[in-house]
């Protein structure tokens, strides 16, 4: 934000950056070959739900659009304890490109209706043969990715070594978040 627009109290809402999501499919291949983490076929979008008819209509439009696809199972909508809404999309684990298209459709509809500034993050989950899980989180406002690997569901501990390994594996392909303090923990994120 510019100095003058902040001094004049006219801070703008940060716009969401959507395009980097399409770099995920090739990164998923790298992650599978280099770190053994395969996509589970689940992805989710986390956003701010707004009170009012306009928003509920947009959300209905998204759910019906994604549910109309014949090959995909139902879309789930849930809310978390911080008041954000999660929309979970399932696809065939092989079809990461299709998953990203679905996620992008969600973003585009929200953006079209003027709710783009309410997008927080998007999460695509991965798992390896031994059961270790990791999520690749996309921050819409920063336009960067970071890994989130919960070690166990209830203990709230992160597998930092795995996260750093993922970051280093993908650093050449995706814009990874450099600021470690922005690597928000997403405990109990749906779809992970």
């Amino acid at each position: 934000m510019g100095f003058w627009s902040s001094v004049l109290g006219r801070s703008k809402q940060a716009p969401a950056k959507l395009d980097s999501l399409f770099m995920v499919p090739s990164a998923a291949v790298t992650l599978q070959t280099a770190a053994g983490l395969a996509p589970t076929g689940t992805g989710s979008v986390c956003y701010r739900a707004v009170v009012g008819a306009a928003f509920s209509q947009a959300q209905e439009e998204i759910v019906s659009l994604l549910n109309d696809a014949p090959d995909a199972p139902a879309v789930e909508v849930s809310t978390d304890s911080y008041g954000y809404t999660w929309l979970v999309v399932h696809r065939d684990p092989e079809d990461t490109a299709g998953l990203c298209t679905d996620l992008h459709a969600v973003n585009t509809i929200l953006e079209q209706q003027g709710f783009g500034s309410g997008l927080l993050c998007s999460l695509i989950s991965f798992a390896d043969a031994s059961g270790r899980r990791a999520g690749l989180v996309y921050l819409y406002k920063q336009g960067t990715f970071y890994p989130f690997a919960p070690q166990d569901t209830d203990g709230q501990r992160r597998d930092n070594l795995l996260e750093i390994q993922v970051r280093d594996t993908l650093a050449a392909e995706l814009p990874m978040e450099k600021e470690l303090s922005r690597w928000l923990a997403l405990w109990g994120a749906p779809g992970l």
Binding site: G9, V50, L139
Partner: protein, 313 residues
């Protein structure tokens, strides 16, 4: 095609810019008048020094604002481990607003309140009292935090300190009467035989300072109210929940009774006259308060809520 639901409040921006301009002009005029008055007594050179000292004090206040405010409120900084929910909320809001995360403080105080301070967004502290943590629900607290983060993003500490620099200088001169500090200004004549020029300047300086102090007081308070409205706006757009901030404000100001919950038909005949909070025109209270009235703030939040819910093609 992407729409924006952001209402541009040109009126508010205009009023605020005019107020800031007037405050700047006030400082310059004050210095010029003092200099003109000092010319006669041959001390004009001292006036810019007074101005620089005043600006220096304002600069120091701004520079050390985080430490001073934290100490004044007896607040301590809390780590993510101590207050995970508070930090989680601020983390998410900062990620949505794309701004650096400020430090987080908690003050052990029953009064429900929150404030943000610090010389720049990188050095900011957002502080809440334990009273507000008890009083508000998670949603309402988030609204308040978004309001405070907007103060940080708007650099309100800097704007308000710069704005008050004319008042600081004027206050400095008026106060120095007590300590005879002004004899320095007009006092060079004392060593000479001719002491005539000193007395009028002394009087003029005090008179002008008092006027400038009063005008600056009214203007800075006005500016402060505009800044609060700006922060409300930006905060409501950040959380997308104007209603949460509205109910938080009602709880904090303790003016819940302003809009009664009770059915009109259930109240007595006399009570029906007390429904509308009768605040109109510029009373002394509205001129001197740092925050806009609850009514004004709720009106603005209602406009934002309506805009967010509007259906678009």
């Amino acid at each position: 095609m992407a729409h924006s639901r952001f209402i541009k409040d040109r009126g508010l921006t205009f009023r605020m810019t005019v107020t800031m301009f007037l405050l700047g002009a006030l400082f310059v005029v004050f210095m010029v008048v003092l200099m003109g008055a000092a010319w006669g007594s041959g001390n004009a050179g001292l006036v810019p020094i007074i101005g620089v000292i005043g600006l220096g004090i304002a600069f120091y206040q701004w520079w050390s604002s985080d430490k001073v405010a934290m100490r004044a409120m007896r607040a301590r900084e809390v780590s993510p481990a101590e207050a995970p929910e508070l930090h989680g909320m601020i983390d998410r809001l900062c990620a949505m607003a794309d701004m650096p995360k400020p430090r987080v403080g908690v003050a052990d105080m029953d009064l429900p309140n929150a404030f943000a301070t610090g010389r720049s967004p990188e050095r900011a502290v957002v502080c809440v009292t334990t009273g507000i943590l008890r009083t508000l629900s998670a949603e309402e607290l988030e609204g308040v935090l978004a309001h405070e983060l907007s103060h940080v993003a708007h650099r309100d500490v800097m704007v308000m300190t710069v704005a008050s620099s004319a008042g600081i200088v004027a206050g400095m001169i008026t106060q120095s009467i007590q300590y005879g500090g002004l004899s320095l200004l007009g006092g060079r004549g004392r060593s000479n035989n001719n002491n005539n020029g000193a007395l009028p300047f002394y009087l003029v300086a005090i008179l002008v300072s008092l006027i400038v102090y009063a005008v600056s007081f009214v203007l800075t308070r006005m500016l402060s109210r505009y800044r609060e409205l700006c922060a409300d706006r930006a905060g409501a757009y950040l959380t997308m929940k104007p209603a949460a901030l509205a109910s938080a404000l009602q709880k904090i100001t303790g003016e819940m009774a302003a809009i009664p919950q009770k059915d009109l038909r259930a109240t007595g005949a006399m009570n029906a006259f007390f429904i509308a909070p009768a605040i109109s025109g510029a009373s002394l209270k509205t001129l001197s308060s740092t925050h806009p009235s609850l009514e004004q703030r709720l009106e603005q939040l209602a406009r934002i809520q309506a805009e967010l819910g509007r259906q678009m093609g």
